[in-house]
Symmetry: C2
Subunit: 487 residues, 2 copies
Amino acid sequence: MRVMDSVSGRYTCLNMNYLLLIMIHIGVGLHAVGGVWPMPQISASSPEQYPLNPEAFYFEYGRQSEAQPGCSVLDAAFKRYFSLIFPDYFPGDNLSVCAGQASLKAETVWGALRGLETFSQLVKIVHFRGILLDTSRHYLPVQAILKTLDAMAYSKFNVFHWHIVDDPSFPYQSQTFPDLSAKGAFHPMTHIYTQTDVQRVISYARLRGIRVLPEFDSPGHTQSWGKGQSDLLTPCYKGGTPSGAFGPVNPTLPSTYQFIARLFKEVSSVFPDSYIHLGGDEVNFFCWKSNPDVRAFMQKMGFGTDFTKLEAFYMESIVNITSTLNKTAIVWQDVFDYHERIPEDTVLHIWKGVPYDYTKELSRITKAGKRVVLAAPWYINHIAYGQDWRKSYTVQPLNFSGTEEQKKLVIGGEVCMWGEYVDATNLTPRLWPRASAAAERLWSDEKQTSSVEKAFPRLQDFRCKLLRYFIFFLVQCFRIIFGSIYN
Amino acid sequence: MRVMDSVSGRYTCLNMNYLLLIMIHIGVGLHAVGGVWPMPQISASSPEQYPLNPEAFYFEYGRQSEAQPGCSVLDAAFKRYFSLIFPDYFPGDNLSVCAGQASLKAETVWGALRGLETFSQLVKIVHFRGILLDTSRHYLPVQAILKTLDAMAYSKFNVFHWHIVDDPSFPYQSQTFPDLSAKGAFHPMTHIYTQTDVQRVISYARLRGIRVLPEFDSPGHTQSWGKGQSDLLTPCYKGGTPSGAFGPVNPTLPSTYQFIARLFKEVSSVFPDSYIHLGGDEVNFFCWKSNPDVRAFMQKMGFGTDFTKLEAFYMESIVNITSTLNKTAIVWQDVFDYHERIPEDTVLHIWKGVPYDYTKELSRITKAGKRVVLAAPWYINHIAYGQDWRKSYTVQPLNFSGTEEQKKLVIGGEVCMWGEYVDATNLTPRLWPRASAAAERLWSDEKQTSSVEKAFPRLQDFRCKLLRYFIFFLVQCFRIIFGSIYN
């Protein structure tokens, strides 16, 4: 009996030579097979429903599979998905046994992970399906991040964009510059992410096939950096003397680039992902303009009074730093407007043109041959009354004026949950299932998922699954806190 | 040492003959006294801050107080507020003892309760300060209601308006008509409120000085009623034959009034409050118009083709039923437009004119001498991005065209959390602290609380208190579930 003949996702069966094969042995016992969210690119189903018996159910690596026992990611995933599929099962239950089998084939471990997710509800990487959490405007406890990573896996997101620091606070505890969090966090002991915390997040994400993309946004959005690193920010002037206020990072001092190089060397080593997000958005030139040293530097460099050239100079410098660290830079789209000399592989992050004019931005930037990630239509921290997931769902990321080559430069999309009004008390209900609407747009075939009305009952069903999963997460936390009568 | 000389609320010291006096004995130890939300009508404070020592702290009834040990409400409140004031305290701690004293004077037990709330953060009833929860569109577990009652007490709300049934579901388990929930609830066993549940809610609310106002909205909003009570709803007609659909309650049959009389007799006995909410809003005449029996009844009664007269007939009949049960009726304002013959003491509930034109409604209805409760500007289920509590805060309930006599007819206000998009997963972050903005408007002196900007830091501080309280609630639940190592 094969429960899932072709329910695995987009990159099933592409190349049998490099195939992972997981045999899923199932026993007969009653379990309704509902829909899957986000919808698989290809699926076939039969009207029969087969019961699953936890006593007779196990995962097994296929004989010809390249992955075999010892593959930590899949070993852990088998354990996790068994618990998700049979949340109420504890050994000692004894039911009738009658064997069956299902198989899951994938080219990569990450694809197999997505297939396991599909199976637990009933595999495309390379593609960027991100969620941004902002841990600067409000601190998010590690548990809230882990819970989000779990939920991301349920919706097949694969990038956690960690907007870890910003103006309000600097919670990242740097080994090289401990003063940054000691003086720049909301609280130096409780509202920080220690190295252990960061490793826990990265490891938890990895086991769920999620990359962690850290963002250290500069030269703007850095007020909190200045508290623990003197001479980093530009002193603003008023009437010829320093006003006491500070502006963006000071791009005129060699010490600035020495600091950035040391900080990013650490960050590159702590976060294993090949990408690093450098920010570069919303730089206010007012303070730079007020500062006589900055103006003198502008003259010396031949920038005249064009402060976008100064920002370009800064961004080029730090992009080059990250290149020497073998990291690819992602920057907010603002950088595009000021630059002609950023490396070819730098990815532009589209956030402007909210909610509708982003198509023009996509046209303009892909025309210049740049890869882009689309975030503009998915700023879902902007809540509205009613079923506002519909707006996210009807986005057509490739529906912009451009060639086929340009369309290929759209490497994915991202849901942003900025933290002005979000903390651990409301993160989960604001994010889920609203983000799942974008997840289907980024995962599934657009033609099969064009109808919002057809999606609605499926999304309602998926929401119920998420709630069951969240209860499971809660129970796991209880076991950590209170111990367990079962183990 | 007197910590609070005059921090108690509006009706302190009005009549010394009927005074409750609670002595609060405090020991010296360090505790910052922050602001109080909602702001007391009158308060005086000194710059000194006094530490509180849990070993030396106790509540005591004043010798001349009418309330003495055995007053269940205050005995329970002393226990509860002790835990809130010293959440980390367990006997066995041993600190230095040095006695002090504070006193709290109130005319009624309920006023003393408010004063205790004031004290835990650092007393006016008769006035209606309500919160509506809708348990028909989404079922809310009893725990979610209890948590809301706790939070209501923290913001000094005094009426829980329980919109218990509506079109989508009938979760109230009636003793007289068990089929109503058996057939009309989302689930006949899990998504219902048993008599025990209802008593638990009423009792929990009472101990917090909160009245429970049940609403059984009819003749519209009754689709779920029809599932368990045949012949109650009006059969709709299409082309001369019944279409299979049903409309509002059928006002033409004597059996309807017999049913309502029996149901309301039960409800009046289950819910001790002297008020009952009868709904009466948004009646669609389309189905009534289609039904030949209803049209014949109209002719017989001399109503012509004016269906508002039919609705008036129905509402008058059920208001009379509640009068014989010694209950005062509250109805949605729609009823006002169709009626000249509702009892003098019926309260009209203003919900129209959202968000701004409700002042006209207030003028019009108070001019007719009717008492009103204002809900229109506080439909806070309508969420918006950002600090939308500011809209609730700037409402001026008495700023409408009318005489002083008319203003006195505004007996209070109500925050409504309709359940279209609200269930236990998002109720708390949607309700708090947003509802607290209206709480201050309904409790505090308008002149002292006219500035939204001044309120902002106080509300932020109050939000932190709420979070501590919620953690306390969670810990209490854990103790129930897991037992406690402390008791």
